[in-house]
Amino acid sequence: MNPLSTYIKESPFLKEIGEIALFTKRFFKEIAKPKQEYAEFLNQCFWIGYKSLILVGVTGFIMGLVLTIQSRPTLVEFGAESMLPSMVSVSLIREIAPVITALICAGKIGSGIGAELGSMRVTEQIDAMEVSGTNPFKYLVVTRVMAATLMLPVLSSLANAISLYGGYLGANIRGNVSWNLYWFQVFNVLNYGDVLPSLIKTFFFGFAIGIIGCYKGYYSQKGTEGVGRSATTAVIVASLLVFIIDLIAVQITDLLGLT
């Protein structure tokens, strides 16, 4: 056997990618089966969405505020202070708000799901579900992945709105921009090419966070340190995936000429 194929066979990194791919394939297979767990899905939407509202809102607010305060001196230097609302809103909506929201959620939701399913695995709760006739993959994994996929765009939209408001306050700390003028400039510069791609990518962020959290928890190693490891690695892998998806999304938007 040549060294490359040995590497491919032995590499834990590639093995993990393969396993995640299989897990994702299983997700699509199971979601197509009849009987959806609607009650548990709504329950998860509540946990994932509602319970992250404040965290995401506060972060969004600070992001807008800080970005505006930080950008002002540079714009002043170029005599383009009046561009402040336009510039800040484009950066926030296209990139900063969705990505930061996704990273926050990778931390909160990814680790939450990883730890929850991990402890259910090691205390045999997942086996108990299977024995009592409930498909645990459908009940636990499909509902959580779907909830994360649908809630991330909602949370990200909220972060968008609040960060723009933070931007308004930031612009008024030193300068003086009226409420009407600020929003006129913001909506004047933003178009569908900015908003839609950034909204669409948040679905993928949510999907990735849900899949990774569930994968890590569902196959958690025995023992309490196994649960801890599931939660931690879920955050690391999900955050990394958020950046990779973002990179791909930028390339696609670019190719489609939506810039």
Binding site: T123, Q125, D127, V131
Partner: protein, 245 residues
Amino acid sequence: MENEPIIEVRQVNKSFGKNHVLRDFSMDVNQGENLVILGKSGSGKSVLIKCIIRLIDADSGSIKVLGNEINGLDQEPLDDLRSKIGFLFQSNALYDSMTVRQNLEFPLRIHWTKEERLKNGYSAVMEALTDVGLAHTIDMMPSELSGGMRKRIALARALILRPKVILYDEPTTGLDPVTGREISELMVSVQKKYNATSVIISHDMNCIRITSNRVIMLIEGRNYADDTFENLKKSNDPKIKEFFT
């Protein structure tokens, strides 16, 4: 049919990588008996009963439960068969995000219709809880209960569908001797009430003495000895003796 064993395990093998856990293991469990499986920690006792309910697939061999060959059974008949088997997990496996009542109702959601659940769900839960003497905990969370109480709730959940077969994975391990004894006595009374057949994994001598009609010793992956507790206790075989000293 009358004399056919309830569980028939034939030549079952199971390996995890190079770890050959079960080697040509065979046994029969007859109607109404309490069979104890005794073996060292890590000898494959949990693997064996998880194979019986097909949480783990055996590599080879045949397992028949209530006349059904479980390997190769489709999902629906498998779920149907599992509804006739109660499983008490070593770690109890209570759903810790649910109340005691929701824990007990969980197996009903698949096997009963919505009307049945609304009509008889509460009384079934109450009956199972009364059987284990914990009716007052119905609205509590598992985290509010002691270890012995959690074990009883887990037993109540295993009984809710009135199973014909009950599988116990180390029911008294980790409990104090008094509570362990109470659980053992509870198992005997439950077995009488439901006229069930039980397979009990244990290395707690008190539990074995109270519950067992027959004991199988699982040593090196094989059915090493099969006799009553009293006879095994008198054995001179060093491999058996070390369990009884």
